[in-house]
Symmetry: C2
Subunit: 505 residues, 2 copies
């Protein structure tokens, strides 16, 4: 090198005092602690080990199983769910508009693709859109919300996002002003919430969901959590609710939603409502009640009491019946925020330019399916019914089967895509885990993986009551594979109990 580092004008005494100022290679120690300490178990140690095992299988190595079954993540197409023909035909025609005149797609597909192309000023899927997303799609979302809830929505309050995750992260980073700000998060939770909050330096304040109450919380529990936070000097800003529940599969009744809205209103907490599983309600008599709808009903009855209630609701193309995770389509709706605040959210969106255009179009398709009489309607109904019935069947079957495995018990899977059963672990297993510096249910999930190829996530990755152990598994594998999962899980658990001693826990 021609030049050498020169620092003649600088304060060398300062340098001596603080060696971190001395230029040095960027290592793990230099990385933002907030990032280093964030945890995200859904893609944590167990899935990482699964990746290694898959590589071994591909290399022809002999393992106790000949394929991995990924039950760790709600990724329906990855385990055989087929895409819905209508959606994909529209997306293909938007991608390659010459298909519009190829004589292969039905009229309603061509009409819909033409509408979306027009919404991009015929720039198509290759152009950035407005930061908040295509107006046509936001209008379609607003119309969907009106149909769903019976209350109007405005496109200006709707932002299209890269899946729901981007929206959640954006909201959390704006809501947390400093390191004293905190958010209520359910325990167990989907770990995006704790990870995003940790990464922006906010305080996590857990409220417990009670397994014995069908994985619901109580007003008393929320109040206690808020009071404890207040005593700690935590400025509570928001409350996350996940309905239907992830990982717990519970579906809130209307009275639960009312209680949560009342609590948030009293405490002036922004409600972050993760409603990405709103179409995934399986149990007879159960129904999805959106926070927006219930809030509007409460406001209608008592406009003064609820005038300041603020809500951000998230939805996604990844779940529901459509299951299009790979498209990364999503939206968020803001309720009760000033235009000044929305302007800031728009700026945040702008620094990412826009979410992918085709993902936006998938959002529009999801909320605006073919109507009776449309050429694609019959096939669409057939495909979506089969998917929904399959999910319902497997939710029931999984609940029933898990409860027959010794030492395992599961609450009913009323909604979403997961079971979150408790697993009783023998003392010896708990001690071995401690010695290995593992979570006990982490040890159990890793052994399950090594012996059966079934990939799950330890309950400790979602949070759970001290001394209890769980795992999360999806209900997504197709029927035959699900039976294989159940059989292998049962045998594994029997062997595990034999190895570590069945009693004594």
């Amino acid at each position: 090198m021609a030049q050498t580092w020169s620092c003649s004008h600088a304060d060398w005494t300062l340098l001596k005092k603080e060696s971190s100022l001395m230029p040095h290679k960027f290592t793990l120690q230099d990385m933002d602690n907030k990032i280093r300490t964030a945890q995200y178990a859904v893609r944590g140690a167990v899935p990482a080990r699964a990746g290694e095992l898959q590589a071994k299988l591909k290399a022809g190595e002999k393992l106790p199983f000949d394929r991995l079954v990924f039950c760790n993540i709600g990724n329906p197409h990855a385990v055989g769910q087929k895409p819905i023909t209508f959606y994909r035909q529209v997306a293909a025609a938007v991608t390659d508009p010459s298909l519009l005149t190829a004589g292969i797609y039905p009229e309603d597909v061509k009409k819909r693709a033409t509408d979306y192309l027009a919404a991009t000023n015929n720039a198509g899927s290759g152009a950035y859109t407005d930061s908040s997303g295509l107006l046509l799609v936001r209008q379609q979302v607003a119309e969907f919300l009106l149909r769903r809830d019976g209350f109007p929505s405005e496109p200006k309050d709707i932002y299209l996002t890269t899946g729901a995750s981007e929206g959640v992260k954006r909201a959390i980073s704006a809501l947390i002003k400093d390191e004293r700000c905190g958010m209520l998060i359910p325990r167990p939770q989907y770990p995006l919430y704790s990870a995003a909050l940790t990464m922006v330096g906010g305080r996590i304040v857990y409220y417990d969901m009670f397994e014995e109450k069908g994985w619901k919380t109580t007003y008393e529990e929320l109040n206690q959590a808020a009071n404890d936070a207040f005593t700690d000097g935590t400025k509570l800003r928001a409350m996350t609710v996940i309905n239907p529940g992830n990982p717990v599969g519970a579906v809130l009744d209307r009275e639960d939603v009312v209680m949560l809205i009342n609590f948030a209103t009293e405490q002036k907490l922004v409600i972050l409502a993760d409603e990405v599983y709103q179409e995934n309600v399986y149990r007879e008599g159960k129904q999805f009640h959106s926070f927006k709808k219930v809030l509007r009903e409460l406001q209608k009855d008592d406009p003064v009491a609820y005038k300041d209630t603020q809500l951000i609701s998230f939805h996604s193309t990844s779940k529901g019946i459509i299951g299009e995770c790979g498209q990364r389509g999503g939206y968020m709706e803001y309720v009760g925020f000033s235009d000044q605040v929305l302007t800031q959210f728009t700026k945040m969106a702008a620094t990412s330019l826009s979410s992918n255009t085709l993902g936006q179009i998938f959002v529009g398709l999801m909320v605006n399916p073919p109507k009776p009489g449309d050429p694609s309607h019959e096939l669409f109904e057939k495909e979506t019914s089969a998917i929904f019935q399959g999910l319902t069947r497997r939710a029931l079957r999984m609940t029933e089967a898990l409860n027959k495995v010794p030492g395992i018990s599961s609450q009913p899977i009323d909604g979403a895509m997961y079971a979150f059963p408790s697993v009783q672990l023998p003392k010896k297993a708990i001690e071995e885990a401690k010695q290995k510096e593992q979570e006990p249910d982490g040890l159990w999930c890793l052994q399950l993986l090594e012996k059966t190829g079934i990939v799950t996530v330890p309950g400790s990755g979602f949070g759970q009551k001290e001394g209890s152990f769980h795992f999360r598994t999806t209900i997504l594998p197709p029927d035959e594979l699900l039976e294989e999962v159940i059989t292998k899980l049962t045998t594994f658990q029997e062997d595990f109990m034999k190895t570590y001693g069945g009693g004594g826990y």
Copy 2:
């Protein structure tokens, strides 16, 4: 509401001391200051006003123009650039695999689509991928980098991202550990860098690019900026370089790249190399020199001196010849980082699950175009040559035309997609802007918009030398429209000088 807020256990004296602890509705004042103060002019006041004018036009209102010309953002398809047939056919076939047997696509399209489908285990574009992206695409990127640079790359160091922007944000948020950490950023810069740095609370340390030196910087300038930062107690962590330049359109010679690498190596700064315009080099004799290639060459000659040099390079499907902004495809390559650090970056990626699958496939297509002899090769060559020749022609034409407008002068547009001409503003205009609390070039850009419909971005949004004024315009409008832009711009500037007094600046 049934319940009232209860805070009996909490410390009410604390509450009295600090009213921000008192529960209240979330307003602008509660929003993270780091977010509120971030600026992003590319989608700032001028484009926002353009949106309003477009709505007026659509509503049939009479304006001095009948359409807007969006020169504010590098969004090629939005101003008429056509997608490349081969890329879109593969993407359509991945989206709707029934097209593989419809007898309409060439064999190489079908082969490529089949390969990508196989890379998803035939889950297709609807499934999440690994957090770092499809292995096949990362392998194709690694092969491309080997061909481009003559030095090997490894898929494990390559992460697929939602455009380059997501990668940039991820890197910056990891590199900034606390509020004393800073980054060198060129002035003028693409404002993503300052916005992302502001949002994570890091310190912006500008180094100037000199217009009279063809928008390049010097070792002395960099050294001065680093020393000043050091004196301020700023821990410099990284240096951003944009090559070819945005907004300035300069292309670095190899000796420039060597100088920048030497400087970063001496100061132990991570180089963030924004190389998204690497295919956009127009001037005869100019050539893109990647930071990776030059670094590897320097390391070959002197392995000890450069052993700790660290680089993150960004690329995107949005620019180049492909111009597929809406797909949000991108990648980042890490050079010189430990596996521990990469594990953290993987976790960060995991909290976003994965970038959209089709966007990933567009990255693979971009780096692996059809080869001579492939059925799609001839059309591909024809389409890409036409796009490249068009960009080259318009870069030359824009440079020439801008330099003929009174009071405007532009450095040669050697690369990227923009001109960043200086505009001399009469004293009276500067004073009027001050009275209106506008930036003077902001006032100029807004008047240009109101009178002509041409949407540009004020130089103040990118940073510029005190007392100088600029605007950024793309070179993307098709030839005929570009001539219209030039004519309107010339007339506008002549009128502007008449209104505000041509001399006296």
